[in-house]
């Protein structure tokens, strides 16, 4: 997947790090000190529909469907997360118990066109 840069408006992953001190939550979240709230943004013109999919065959399949069904070129697919990972977190609950858990699918690692 592409990380967003200035000279492309194609579907990409925009990185953003939230520091828990900046939002005043570092008193109850023990670890980590913040996390990447990345998100997907950008255009998905038809010729990139399904890329970078899980496998190049996925892109080919989607592209053939587009041609076979003569979908209007104006159509667009969506720029969505294609791979995410968990966030391990250690925090105090309201009874000052310490809780450690993994939050699944919390961090966007890669984006792609649906």
């Amino acid at each position: 997947s592409l990380r967003c840069s200035q000279n492309s408006n194609l579907c990409c992953r925009r990185d953003y790090y939230v520091d828990f001190r900046d939002i005043g939550w570092n008193d109850w979240i023990i670890k980590p000190e913040g996390y990447q709230i990345n998100y997907c943004v950008g255009q998905c013109p038809l010729h990139v529909a399904g890329s970078p999919g899980m496998a190049s065959s996925f892109h080919t399949a989607v592209f053939n469907l587009v041609k076979a069904n003569n979908i209007q070129a104006s159509g667009h697919s969506c720029c969505v997360p294609t791979r995410r990972r968990p966030l391990s977190i250690l925090y105090f609950d309201r009874h000052s118990n310490i809780v450690k858990t993994d939050i699944p699918d919390m961090i966007v690692d890669a984006c792609g066109c649906s």
Binding site: Y16, V18, D22, I23, W25, D27, W28, I30, Y35, I37, I89, L90, Y91, F92, D93, R94, H95, S96, N97, I98, V99, K100, T101, D102, I103, P104, M106
Partner: protein, 221 residues
Amino acid sequence: AAAEPRCPTCAAAAERRLLEEAAKRQLLEKLRLRERPKLIHAVPRAAVARALRRLQVGGARRGPEEEEEEEERSYEIISFAEPGGSPSALGLRFQFSHTQDQDIHILQAQLWLYLRVPQDLVTSLTLRIFLAGGAGEVAGGNRTLLSEQQLSARGSGWHSLTLLPTLQRFFGGEGRTLRLELESHGAGGDIAAMVNASWSHQPFLVAKARLREPGHRLGKR
């Protein structure tokens, strides 16, 4: 946030505020919290560090079979004891907050006690651990014997006691306040005196639990 022409940096500040609000919402939603916890009392950093060391020791890696149960969430919880109400036995109270519809399965549970024992003395105790009943239960009220364990201590130090499997019943019910009572027998001395002598090392419970969210379809792969 469209950047106003006269203030290009406003867009960055607006984006930052937007993302910070999104991060707060996402964290609370994923942790199933309605709002951020307001801590009732601060836990001494030394106690946190000490308890976390126990968590690392006890927190076994997940086995391959557990990877399959990814749909369930595994939690590790450290709960610091508040003094209980029983004069004769050592009364410990732990507060938990879990919603009724969560199906909690306790995998491991240890109670850690710091016993203050004179340096040159080797003491041997027979400890009985009870699950005390409803609110304000006095010693000897309706209690369930969780376990009876031998404990020998040479000098002061930390000792762990296993609390399964009866504790599962507490978490399976509506319990939110766990009351334990410890009584000691034998020539080794009084457990309440040994533990209360150093409340700076307050007892704590380390539990490893697996939690199934309500209405969760468990896909066996």
